[in-house]
């Protein structure tokens, strides 16, 4: 029957999947039995009692109290079992173990942002170690989204204005699909994400060095990704509009005057310094509000930003 299980349900990849699937099959067994009973009786009666003449007289059977009780009590007994089993499984899935790795997952049309305790942020994908509990703290920046991982059998709405949570312990390394599963507009069916479950060593390596993708993506493309994901876009425009910070359009190679009167050319060093130690030099006419990205940005990502800015004429 394994083929049937694999056809109907996704791979089991968390500690929660097994119990849920067992209940699923228990209900299926009950359903098959009851449906078979009903179907067989319907078809059998349609054939056996088919009207043969217009004068047939049928027995006047009005009711049977015993039967009513039996076919009320037996289903009642079965559904109560299902209720407790389901309730128990649900409660288990609500309370994350104390030593869980906590990851913030925020939905916004139409991407998932993840943030680790050390402040590292990723987009549409994140890594977790196998066999360790992970607690996802969910929220949304706009409308209700929902974070669904079929293989882990978990799902929870991400609601704007509050936090919800779900947790899992992955049992097998691999890549697992995440779907947004609360309708949220045009990009709803593209609001996908991936969970990379690594063995412990690979996970630690990733924490230090980041995604393979980041190592191989062409630098300007990487820079654009960083611009979008790490919040640069909040203050720096690409089209010349003045924001909280200077626009990046045409800034490469330009001479800026700082608040202390110094004139600095926008080159590799200046950009690196602006990201890692922004308070050192503030362009005249702007406030000293840019936060440092030390620890929040990898070296190759800085290079990517530099290359990206070069191309913004």
């Amino acid at each position: 029957m394994n083929w049937l299980h694999d056809f109907i349900l996704p791979k089991q990849a968390s500690t929660l999947s097994g119990n849920i699937d067992n209940l699923f099959w228990f209900i299926t067994a009950i359903n098959v039995v009851f449906f078979a009973l009903i179907a067989i009786l319907v078809i059998h009666f349609m054939r056996k009692y088919r009207r043969k003449s217009e004068n047939e007289v049928t027995p006047h059977i009005t009711h049977n109290q015993t039967l009513e009780i039996v076919w009320s009590v037996i289903p009642l007994f079965l559904v109560i079992i299902i209720f407790f089993w389901g309730f128990h499984g649900y409660v288990n899935a609500q309370v994350a173990p104390a030593n869980s790795i906590e990851i913030q997952a925020t939905g916004k049309k139409w991407v998932w942002q993840f943030e680790y305790p050390d402040g590292m942020r990723t987009l549409n994908a994140f890594h977790v170690p196998v066999n360790r509990p992970v607690r996802l703290v969910l929220s949304s920046e706009d409308v209700i989204h929902s974070f669904f991982v079929p293989s882990f059998r978990i799902k929870k709405d991400a609601v704007p204005g509050r936090y919800t949570e779900e947790w899992f312990t992955a049992t097998e390394p691999g890549v697992y699909q995440v779907f947004c599963t609360e309708y949220c507009g045009k990009g709803h069916s593209d609001m996908l994400a991936k969970i990379y479950v690594d063995d412990e060593a690979a996970y630690q390596k990733w924490l230090l060095e980041g995604d393979e993708e980041i190592k191989t993506m062409p630098l300007p493309e990487l820079g654009k990704l960083v611009y979008e994901n790490k919040g640069c876009a909040t203050c720096h425009s690409l089209d010349g509009t003045r924001g909280q910070g200077p626009t990046w359009k045409g800034t490469w190679g330009a001479m800026h005057t700082m608040t202390d009167g110094k004139q600095i050319k926008v080159d590799e060093n200046y950009i690196r310094e602006s990201i890692l130690e922004p308070q050192n030099h503030i362009v005249q006419g702007y406030e000293p509000i840019m936060p440092t990205f030390k620890g929040l940005i990898r070296d190759r990502e800085v290079l990517g930003v530099i290359e990206y800015i070069k191309g913004l004429k």
Partner: protein
């Protein structure tokens, strides 16, 4: 005694369009409702076919994502508000209920006409909303998406608000009619079960719909005046909308299915020529469903962030409300046992109902179980479940009732052979379309998805082919039913051997329903051979 010319009936007398538009005859009002809801069934059905065609392939097949989002929203909104909720009560119910009670009309005929005009007003507003920008929120209008998205959401919200009053007035009318206009001798336990079910439905209509009305009003006010109830940016709670919405919309699904139960309770005894088994069980189960149905709304919200305790209460009550429905199915089966079964179209539909509604109800068990629901919620499993109960249940029962009362309403018999073929097409097509969707859902395919992963494509395609078979069956049905209008009105008063009052008057009935005073002489499902009684008038 007859003051009517031969051949005179409620359809042809009085003549003229204005006499129809100003009528207070419940039969004429029922017929006007019937054509209206069938029209919207067609529109909603075409939307469904478009959705399925788009889903033949991932990404774009025939429309863009924005268009798809509008089409599935309109499919749902039209089917729920403009078709299924009024279908049995306002169309078939209006026609049959007074006849079954031995009454000349409903309690408030003018209010009945008003409720039709309110329906038409709401329908016009809905059509306006479709044309003036459309809606893409899903029929459930969840906030804050619905308070922030563009389109004609405000107008559609008002349209649904208006339609709600049509439903409320029908409910008020039916309750008063059932209480006050029964024929002499017809006590509560001599009522046909159709009446018991319509009574339960009417109770739900009047208790639940006002809450929808206020929910829609609040949604409208939030959208237009930003009052701060559902939008978190304004200090509101988006999950509160879900509570308000489902407080109506869960009972609403019982407004949809309980009338279906009503029809099945009539067809099965008649076409088994055998008294109904478990009359009181079936009668009380309808009322039990109506009451408990108000207490389970949170089973739509197990993953919304509501408290575990609330979820547990809702889950437990959900399992309780399943039992009366199961009891009905068993009682209907027991009615067929040792019956004399006539397999003409109404009975074919009733038997289809038993199978399809059972699947729908049994799959509800997965969804009432909290832990399993977490996996299945908002996937195609849900879509399959509600189509099995709403379409495999209500629509199939509606079609059965339509065939059952067609000779009474229009005085003509339809072609039984074509009806059997169409029923088979509908049955097969329906299962191919929707059983497939259970598997799509359990495998993780989310609902309301325009694009999808390649691995889901074979199942999606299979489901779409099913929709073509289903559509063919429905179009065939429309064809042979409409073709009856080319035949003379020669249907007998009682083609099926029914024992309820509507079969004691001509087909179609005269305007005043009966040219005698109906008095109850036997129970509605008494198929025992009539014993001659001394000094008692025969029924007619």
């Amino acid at each position: 005694m007859a003051h009517y010319a031969p051949g005179e009936n409620y359809l042809n007398s009085p003549p003229g369009l204005w006499s129809w538009l100003s009528t207070v005859d419940h039969k004429r009002i029922g017929i006007m409702y019937l054509w209206s809801i069938l029209f919207f069934f067609l529109i909603g059905g075409l939307m469904a076919l478009l959705v399925r065609i788009e889903l033949l392939t991932p990404k774009q097949t025939i429309m863009t994502a924005e268009q798809y989002n509008q089409v599935f929203t309109l499919h749902g909104a039209i089917m729920v508000f403009l078709f299924i909720i009024p279908s049995v009560p306002a169309a078939l119910g209006n026609f049959v209920l007074p006849l079954m009670l031995g009454a000349k009309d409903v309690a408030f005929p003018k209010v009945n006409l008003m409720s039709l005009y309110i329906y038409w007003t709401g329908a016009l507003m809905a059509v306006g909303a479709i044309v003036l920008g459309g809606i893409d929120t899903g029929w459930t209008f969840y906030t804050p998406y619905s308070t922030s998205t563009g389109g004609a959401v405000s107008l559609m919200t008002l349209a649904a608000f208006v339609l709600g009053f049509s439903s409320i007035l029908t409910g008020v009318n039916f309750i008063a009619t059932i209480h006050k206009l029964r024929a002499p001798g017809m006590g509560w336990f001599q009522l046909p079960l159709f009446i018991w079910s319509m009574y339960a439905t009417a109770l739900i209509q009047i208790m639940a719909t006002p809450v929808l009305a206020i929910t829609l009003l609040l949604l409208f006010m939030e959208r237009v005046f930003h009052i701060g109830i559902f939008d978190p940016k304004l200090g509101g709670d988006p999950v509160l909308f879900q509570h308000f919405f489902w407080f109506y919309s869960h009972p609403a699904v019982y407004i949809m299915i309980v009338p279906g139960f009503a029809i099945i309770s009539e067809i099965i005894p008649t076409f088994s020529k055998k008294t109904i088994f478990g009359y009181k069980a079936i009668a009380f189960s309808s009322v039990a469903i109506a009451i408990v149905g108000f207490l389970v709304w949170g089973h739509h919200m197990f993953v919304s962030g509501q408290s575990t305790l609330a979820g547990a209460i809702f889950s437990f009550l959900t399992f309780l409300v399943a039992i009366p429905s199961a009891v009905k199915v068993f009682n209907w089966l027991a009615t067929m046992y040792r019956g004399s079964i006539d397999l003409r179209a109404p009975m074919l539909y009733a038997c289809s109902f038993l199978l399809l509604f059972s699947i729908g109800g049994l799959t509800g068990l997965y969804l009432g179980a909290m832990s399993v629901d977490v996996h299945l919620h908002d996937t195609y499993f849900i879509v399959a479940h509600f189509h099995y109960v709403m379409m495999g249940g209500t629509v199939i029962a509606f079609l059965g009732g339509l065939h059952y009362w067609w000779p009474k309403m229009f005085g003509r018999m339809y072609n039984e052979r074509l009806a059997a073929i169409a029923c088979a097409l509908v049955f097969v097509g329906f299962n191919v379309t929707f059983f497939t969707q259970f598997v799509l859902g359990s495998r993780g395919m989310p609902r309301r998805y325009y694009n999808y992963l390649d691995q889901f494509q074979p199942l999606h395609a299979f489901s779409t082919y099913g929709s073509w078979i289903l559509g063919a069956g429905l179009f065939l049905t429309a064809g042979y039913l409409l073709a009856t209008f080319r035949k003379p009105m020669d249907a007998p008063a009682n083609p099926w051997g029914g024992k309820t009052f509507e079969w004691e008057t001509q087909s179609p009935p005269i305007t005043h329903n009966f040219d005698f005073d109906p008095v109850l002489l036997h129970g509605p499902y008494d198929y025992r051979p009539a014993k001659p009684r001394e000094n008692e008038p025969v029924a007619h």
